[in-house]
């Protein structure tokens, strides 16, 4: 059960001042590390996809503006 007043509280209570000092130091350290040219925390670019998309070169695209109801067996120019 969650409780604010746990009987078994063995944690050492950190002083508020020290907390913010450590927090600030941590933030500065993290910022400094991210400036290094190693991109430790930077989002890696997604690896090149293994599935390549390529249209079929022999497929005939439909001209949506052209009516295709031509006479039987005949072709428009």
């Amino acid at each position: 059960m969650n409780s604010n007043n746990s009987g078994n509280n063995n944690s050492v209570k950190i002083k508020r001042r020290n907390f913010f000092v450590y927090l600030g130091a941590g933030a500065v350290a993290a910022a400094a590390i991210t400036k290094l040219p190693f991109k430790l925390f930077g989002q890696k670019l997604k690896a090149e996809a293994s599935v390549k998309v390529k249209a079929n070169p022999y497929a005939v695209k439909r001209d949506m503006n052209m009516s295709s109801k031509g006479p039987k067996g005949q072709v428009r120019g």
């Binding site: 059960m1 969650n2 409780s3 604010n4 746990s6 078994n8 509280n9 944690s11 209570k13 950190i14 907390f19 927090l23 941590g26 933030a27 993290a30 910022a31 590390i33 991210t34 430790l40 925390f41 930077g42 989002q43 670019l45 997604k46 996809a49 293994s50 599935v51 390549k52 998309v53 390529k54 249209a55 079929n56 070169p57 022999y58 497929a59 005939v60 695209k61 439909r62 001209d63 949506m64 295709s68 109801k69 031509g70 039987k72 067996g73 005949q74 072709v75 428009r76």
Partner: protein, 1066 residues
Amino acid sequence: MKEMDELKKPDNSSEVNQPKDSGYWRSFKELYNDPAFDKTLKNEFSPEALQKPDVANMSAVTRRRFLALMGASAAFAAAGCGNYQDKGTIVPYNQKPEEVTLGLPNYYASTCTGCTSACGILVKTREGRPIKVDGNPDHPVNKGKICTKGQASVMNLYNPERLREPMMNKAVTNWNDVNKNVTAALTSAAGSGKEIAIVTHTILSPTLKRLLDEFKLTFPTAKIYSYEVFNDSARINAWQKSYGKRSLPVLQLDKAKVIVALESDFLGNDHNMLEYTRMFSQNRDVMSKNEFNRLYAVEGAVTNTGMNADYRLRLRTDAIEEFVMCLLNELVGKKKLSGYAMDSRVTTVFASNDIKQFAAKYKLDEKVVNHIVNDLVKFQGEAIVLGGDKLPESTHIAINLLNEALGNNKLYSAEADNTELMPLSTSAEMDSLVQAMASGRVGVVVHFDTNPVYNLSPEYKYEEAVKKVPMSITLTELVNETSEVSNYVLPIHNQLEAWSDFKTRTGFYSMQQPIIAPLYNTRQKEAILLNWKEPKEFNETLYKDYLSANWEKVIYPTMAAAAPFKKFWNSVLHDGVVFMNEKPELAGGAFAVDAFASVPKMKASNDFTILLQGNNNVGDGRFASNGWLQELPNPVTKIVWDNYAAISVQSAAELGVDTNGTVDITIGSRKQTFPVFIQPGMADKTIEISLGYGRTAAGAIGTGIGVNANMLIAKNAPLNERLYNNAQVTSAGGKYELISTQEHYPIDSDPLLKDIQFRRGIIRQGTVEEYKKNPKFLQEGMHHMDLQPINTPPVYDREGFTGYKWGMAIDLNKCTGCGACVTACNVENNIPIVGKEQVKANREMMWLRIDRYYYGTPDAPSANFQPMLCQHCDYAPCENVCPVAATTHSEDGLNGMAYNRCVGTRYCSNNCPYKVRRFNYFDWRDRVSDGFQYAEPMELMANPEVTVRSRGVMEKCTFCVQRIMKERQDAIQEARGVVGSNVKTACQDACPAYAIEFGNINDKESTIAKYRTHELGYSVLEEIKVLPNVTYMAKLRNIYEPMHTGDKKHKSEEKKSEEKKTEEHK
């Protein structure tokens, strides 16, 4: 059981167990006022969605420590990490393909290979990849429409589980080794006299037929076996016996004034559904002057067709032939409507069949039976009697005679409905193949994109036999039950990557061209065969060259085309279909009376009848891996992700089973256990089960879904492979939860307002006669609730607005509930799959649903289908309550949704009276089947014109705003105004019945404006005055009797109470 017992209670003292007054009901719980159901109505969310976390088992971390850790983590994350939304750098083409214009789609014509109909399709591509499949408007059969399976077929291309490399003994190999080994085995088999078996589906391609013939010449011991689970063999064989030819005519249902469907689901799963739906709905159009047709359905199962019928009789399927005999006796024998009355060979067959006795025996409504008889008399030559594909030959022969005698053969078109390039193998032939395999006489067996281990009757023992063949090869896109027992599993192209031609009917060819280059190291199955026949270096154009060469040498010369072949070929591929002058080989001559007289007749038994049905989800099982289709609710039962044994109320009571129980079904030596679903309207002692489920090797999505009903198929079925009337059914005592969406989001019941559901008029209907006498009957009959509008004063003033305003109309006369619109919407708008468990928690994500309302009694219900989507209300109650203004109203009447503003309070969904809003409780793509929808290359399937929503965001129908924007862009480019009719929503495009209309309602000349002002037009929940912009056309039943539904009953009650009040006042 308790529920069933209480239903039988004669004591009327308890209101709980009395059925509601006649009105609309969706399930038995609603009908019988189940208190548990009433309780669920009060809840916005289902119990599963409200499960509280188990606090007792939570971690005992203190709040202080938790916050400290969280604060530190947040600080590190903010300081160190990059933008989590950054997916990398988008780089434009540095060599743009010529045919691609970024941001604009291309279209290609092709042919769908999902079933034997081979409908023409038009595939929309963006940046070279197909994203939407619609019908080809130039195809004479489907004319721009495609069924649910065709719509969802784009997911099959991008299925992450598609095979990518050839496999030998479950290890990846290469094509060269495969070809070397296989050609050696083929040569050896042919040389030693061993059979080379090729097992295929129906051959529809003339070029493939030629290839197979040449293959047989190269390998003389090669034999072709073909089978099809859903075939028309009984009808074709009956036609051959009746008329001497195997070409069935196309039925001109658009000219039929009366249609009598005998176990024929021509609006659902039977052959040629798209064409017949179009033809049927042409005479259900309130905007046209055509007289309404009248549809009678006589069936044991409950089908789409039956639910749309004007009159429906429930009759066990094995009694249908007797019914036809009764009709023959009545019409030919007694009324002497045909010269066959003089032929004793004919009359002696049915002389003892009395229709009145028959109706009494099977408790048929005599009034309806008389209507059928009278209408067939009155409309001779303008009526048609249809038999379903599950009926045996003898019944079809009898139906042929009935149509012949009544002159209904005038409705047979000159076109042949089927072109049989190669007849399907008989069961004896399949059996001889299995025997040959088992005894070692087959050297090589090639499964040509077939799955006989799953599809065929277990009596063949196909799996055991194929294991004895030295070389078994399966050509397939996905792993299946047959590939699991094959030595070689060779990956083949998807239909969108392949070449072919199709000849399904007289007068034209359909063409299939690849839209996209193969995604993986797959090959076209015909090309594989060609390469074995003529071993040479393989290239991707191998089959294309063979195909075009066949056309140039064989087919083109018959066309008398003016253009040279190259131009002709390009034109054919451009159109997707080519017409030709062709004389159909239809039967001439008289009906073969001896066939009718001599064929053994089907007789009704006392045992259970089992019907093995098709479905609009998984087909014969080949679409089991398609999540969209698995999650599409069955049109009648609304069950998802499962099949079941649908059974009548009475039969369930006799067996002592209830919905979600299980039954054992035994037919001879074949037995299987199925979950039970009590379906209103089923004939007693008739059970209907869908095929295509219970697969054991269908990937993450399809494996283990449902129960395999193929186990009940007999090798030599006495009646039909999908109809058995000698089944024993017993309760299995188990439990299996079926998930149905039919009770989700009921908007017709509110216990606070007594009987309000009867007066809410969600479904409004009348009769054709009533409409003819008084076209304004609907407006006069409407109740006008004295309720204050929800938004007072209006949110904004719309008067004086002169721009365009979008609206939709749905004609309930035409809607058959097939679900093509739902699937099209899913594809167009990147709707995710949520899985069975989340559908149970009412969290299905489909923007469009089709509500199915029964009315009448559980034994003989009628049904109405009503597509329900966001109504884009002018006074939308959802817009006011959003705390962050994420949902607002646009100038042109759309209720818009800003996904990146939404914080997920869900207040809008709470307020929506139509319950059409969908919330992303989870990132469904990540959650379902271990991120199946995020697996490569599923992201290629997404429509780039529509945002892909993530967790925590509300979504709903947008009236396809991306298509509206496209029209706006075109209008700006062309310096013209927006034309409403240029915009077609995905659902409108897909509907085979043309039931949906969309456009600018401010354009008074437009069709949509005419629908809006039509006397049959109404809005759902009008009384709450949210001013929805979707207009429904009231359904007109073409029946002789006046209609009694809940709202009319209460109208008369209200009138009585008002009269009483007036008298008291006096």
